[in-house]
C-alpha cells in the first residue's frame, strides 16, 4: 500500500477549559455545542455560551485547529427557532462546520448558509452508502460520522461507494443501540437524546448504598447493583444489569468503553478521514490525557511507526475496553 494518509483527530470539549486543553494536547479539530438542548450532550454545567464559543473559536484558529459545532438533537415541533438560531450563530462565529442530524435542520442550513460546511451527526445513523448518498445529494453534506454498528470491512466498502468524507469513533463511551434511534432513556425518564440532548439524565439518576451494594436507579428503575470491590458503571440504561429469562447480568452491553487505537492503521486503510474521541461530558484532565495519547498514536501511524499500546484504561467506563462493532464478533 501507499504511505499512510494523515488522519484528522476530532476531539470533544464540554467547557472552554477542556477546549483549550484539547487544542494544547494536539487536537486537529474540536467539536462542541451550545449550552442548551440543541446539542446531544446537554448536561448540567456543560457547554458554551455564544461569547465563550466566539473566544474558543479564536483560540483554535490561532493555533490552526478547526471547530465543529454539534447541533445534533432533533428540533422540537413548534420550536424550530432555537435550533435555526444555533446554526446561524455557529456560522456567524466562524465555525468550520456544523454537525447536524435532523433532515429539516439540514434543509434549513443548506438553504440559509450555502457556504457552511455540513457534517452528518452519528445521531442520523446513516449506516450505508445509499443513506449517505441521500444526505450528500439532498443537503450537500460533506462528511458523515458513521454509526458505531459497522465493522472495519463495512466501513471500507462504504468509503469505496461514496464521495464524501467519513469520521469514525475511536475512543470513549459506546452506544450499543443505533444512535439517534433509541428511546430507552425517555421510556424511563421522559428525557431522550433525540429530544433533550441527554441520555439517562443525571436529574433522574440516584445512587444509594443498599446492604453493602451500590445501587443505581434511573427514573426509579434499578439499573445496576455492584459490590464493594467492583468498578462503578455509568448510570446509562443500556449498560445496566437486568434479568432476561435465565440470564442475569448486562443484558445489552458490558460496562466497557470503545478503544480502537489498535485499529488505526486498518481504519486509515478503510479510507476514513477523521477519528473522533467521545466525551464532551468528561473533565479537562480526561480530554487532555486522551487527546495527547491519540495524537501520539496518529503521529506514529503517519510516520509508519507502530501504534503505542493503550494506556487509557483507567479512564474508561467500568475500566474495560472493547473494539466494539469494528470486529464482527461483537454482534
Amino acid at each position: 500500500m501507499s504511505a499512510p494518509h494523515k488522519l484528522e483527530l476530532v476531539c470533544p470539549a464540554g467547557t472552554p477549559a477542556a477546549f483549550r486543553a484539547a487544542i494544547d494536547a494536539g487536537a486537529h479539530a474540536i467539536y462542541c455545542g451550545f449550552n442548551d438542548e440543541t446539542n446531544a450532550r446537554n448536561f448540567p454545567g456543560l457547554n458554551f455560551s455564544r461569547a465563550e464559543l466566539a473566544e474558543s473559536i479564536k483560540y483554535a484558529h490561532r493555533r490552526g485547529a478547526k471547530v465543529l459545532i454539534a447541533i445534533n438533537t432533533f428540533p422540537r415541533a413548534g420550536a424550530l427557532t432555537l435550533w435555526r438560531n444555533a446554526v446561524d450563530d455557529a456560522s456567524r462565529l466562524g465555525a468550520d462546520a456544523v454537525i447536524l442530524a435532523d433532515i429539516g435542520l439540514l434543509d434549513y442550513a443548506s438553504g440559509a448558509h450555502p457556504s457552511l460546511r455540513l457534517h452528518l451527526s452519528v445521531q442520523a445513523a446513516a449506516a450505508n452508502a445509499d443513506a449517505i448518498a441521500f444526505y450528500a445529494r439532498s443537503f450537500g453534506v460533506r462528511r458523515v460520522v458513521l454509526p458505531r454498528v459497522l465493522t472495519v470491512q463495512e466501513i471500507a466498502a462504504i468509503n469505496r461507494a461514496i464521495e464524501v468524507e467519513t469520521e469514525v469513533f475511536i475512543f470513549g463511551g459506546l452506544c450499543v443501540m443505533a444512535e439517534g434511534r433509541c428511546s430507552l432513556s425517555s421510556y424511563a425518564t421522559g428525557k431522550s437524546p433525540n429530544m433533550n440532548g441527554a441520555c439517562s439524565p443525571a436529574s433522574h439518576v440516584e445512587y444509594r448504598e443498599e446492604g453493602g451494594e451500590l445501587v443505581s436507579r434511573l427514573g426509579g428503575f434499578a439499573i445496576n447493583s455492584v459490590g464493594a470491590g467492583e468498578a462503578a458503571p455509568y448510570p446509562t440504561l443500556c449498560k445496566g444489569c437486568f434479568e432476561a429469562g435465565d440470564y442475569r447480568g448486562h443484558v445489552f452491553e458490558d460496562p466497557s468503553s470503545l478503544d480502537a487505537a489498535s485499529l488505526i492503521p486498518q481504519l486509515a486503510e478503510a479510507g476514513v478521514t477523521a477519528l473522533k474521541i467521545e466525551g464532551r461530558q468528561r473533565s479537562r484532565a480526561y480530554t487532555e490525557a486522551v487527546v495527547r495519547s491519540f495524537r501520539k498514536a496518529l503521529d506514529a501511524h503517519a510516520a509508519g511507526r507502530p501504534i503505542p499500546a493503550g494506556e487509557l484504561r483507567g479512564l474508561t467506563e467500568g475500566q474495560q475496553t472493547t473494539s466494539g462493532a469494528y470486529r464482527k464478533t461483537w454482534r
Binding site: G78, A124, N128, R181, S183, L184, F242, Y247, F252, R331
Partner: protein, 315 residues
C-alpha cells in the same frame, strides 16, 4: 395547538383509519399465514403493513407465504403496505429494500432513510415510526418528496403531535400514531436475544422465535421493564391510546397503528373500531383490551405522562 371550538369538539372520532403494523416478532411460517388470514377475514381494519422490519435473517422462513397473505388481505378489502427493514446495513438487505420499489401496485413504508435515496415523487410511500420525524420542517421536507402518511415516532409528546398533525394537513399528508402494542424503543447492530442465550448474531439459532411477544427484561429487584426482540428492544408496557381517541381526533390524527401480538388480536382491532365509531365508550374499549390481552400492562405515557413507562393516564 388550537382546538377550533365546539364544532370540532362534537366531531365523532369515526374518521380514524386503522392500520395493522408489521409483525415485529419471529413467528413460524404457519403462524404468520394464519395471522394474516384472520386479519384479512375478520379484522375491521383499513390497512395492513406487511414484511420484515426487525431482522433480515428471519425473512427466508416466511418469504414464500407473503404473496398469498397479500392476496388474501386484498380480497378482504384491506390496503396492503410493504414494510421495509428498520436498519439496512448488509448488501443483501440493501437489495431487498431496493426491490420494494420494483413494483408500483403497493405503497412502501420507509423505516430507514436509506430508502429515500431511491424514491421518486410518483412513487407511493409513507414514513414509518422508526424514522426521526420530530418537527414540522422534517415532515414538510419528506412530504415534498412524496411521503403520504407519517406514523410518528412513539416517544413524541402530545404537544409535538398537535404541531405535526397541523403541518401534515398543510402538506396533504396523514398522521398515524402508535396506538396499540409494545413500543419499539431501540435497534442495535447486536442481537440481544442471541447474547442472552450465549450466542452471537451470526450463529443465533433463531432463538428469538422462542418469545412470540418478546423476551421480558426485568430489573434486579423484579420490576417489569423492557422486552427483547432480536436486535430490537421494546417496552414492557403496551401502548394503548384507546381512551384518547377524542383528543387525538381534535389534534388532527387520522390513523391508528395496532401492532400485532399473540392473544386475541382480532378482539383488539374490534375494540378500537368500535370505540372509533362511537359504538363503545373509551372505558368499555379499555375493558375489552384488558380481556383481549390479560397479561399486558397498558400505557399512554409517552404522549400524556412523565415518561414512556408511566402508568396509563385515564381521564
Amino acid at each position: 395547538m388550537v382546538f377550533e371550538g365546539d364544532a370540532i369538539m362534537s366531531l365523532k372520532p369515526s374518521s380514524f383509519a386503522l392500520t395493522v403494523g408489521p409483525l415485529l416478532f419471529n413467528w413460524s411460517a404457519d403462524e404468520f399465514s394464519d395471522f394474516y388470514a384472520r386479519i384479512a377475514d375478520e379484522a375491521p381494519v383499513d390497512r395492513v403493513t406487511i414484511g420484515e422490519i426487525v431482522c433480515s435473517k428471519r425473512t427466508p422462513f416466511y418469504a414464500d407465504r407473503i404473496p398469498a397473505a397479500i392476496e388474501r388481505l386484498q380480497r378482504g378489502g384491506k390496503q396492503v403496505v410493504l414494510s421495509s427493514l428498520a436498519m439496512v446495513t448488509l448488501e443483501r438487505e440493501k437489495r431487498g429494500a431496493r426491490e420494494l420499489f420494483d413494483q408500483d401496485l403497493l405503497e412502501v413504508e420507509i423505516n430507514d432513510l436509506t430508502l429515500m435515496n431511491w424514491v421518486k415523487p410518483e412513487m407511493a410511500f409513507s414514513i414509518g415510526p422508526l424514522v426521526n420525524v420530530y418537527n414540522e420542517a422534517t415532515l414538510a421536507y419528506l412530504a415534498r418528496q412524496g411521503a403520504r402518511r407519517f406514523c410518528l415516532p412513539p416517544e413524541l409528546p402530545f404537544a409535538s403531535v398537535e404541531v405535526l398533525a397541523a403541518a401534515a394537513a398543510a402538506s396533504g399528508a396523514e398522521i398515524e400514531l402508535w396506538a396499540y402494542g409494545r413500543i419499539p424503543l431501540a435497534i442495535s447492530g447486536r442481537c440481544t436475544h442471541a447474547r442472552v442465550h450465549g450466542l452471537s448474531k451470526d450463529s443465533c439459532q433463531f432463538v428469538c422465535a422462542k418469545d412470540a411477544d418478546g423476551l421480558a427484561v426485568r430489573t434486579l429487584d423484579g420490576a417489569n421493564f423492557l422486552a427483547v426482540n432480536g436486535v430490537q428492544t421494546l417496552s414492557h408496557i403496551s401502548g394503548a391510546l384507546i381512551g384518547d381517541l377524542d383528543r387525538l381526533a381534535r389534534a388532527g390524527v387520522t390513523s391508528l397503528r395496532l401492532s400485532p401480538h399473540t392473544g386475541d388480536f382480532i378482539g383488539v382491532t374490534r375494540a378500537f373500531a368500535e370505540v372509533a365509531s362511537g359504538a363503545l365508550s373509551a372505558k368499555e374499549g379499555l375493558a375489552r383490551l384488558r380481556q383481549s390481552a390479560p397479561e399486558a400492562a397498558f400505557s399512554n405515557g409517552f404522549l400524556f405522562g412523565d415518561c414512556g413507562a408511566a402508568a396509563l393516564h385515564e381521564r
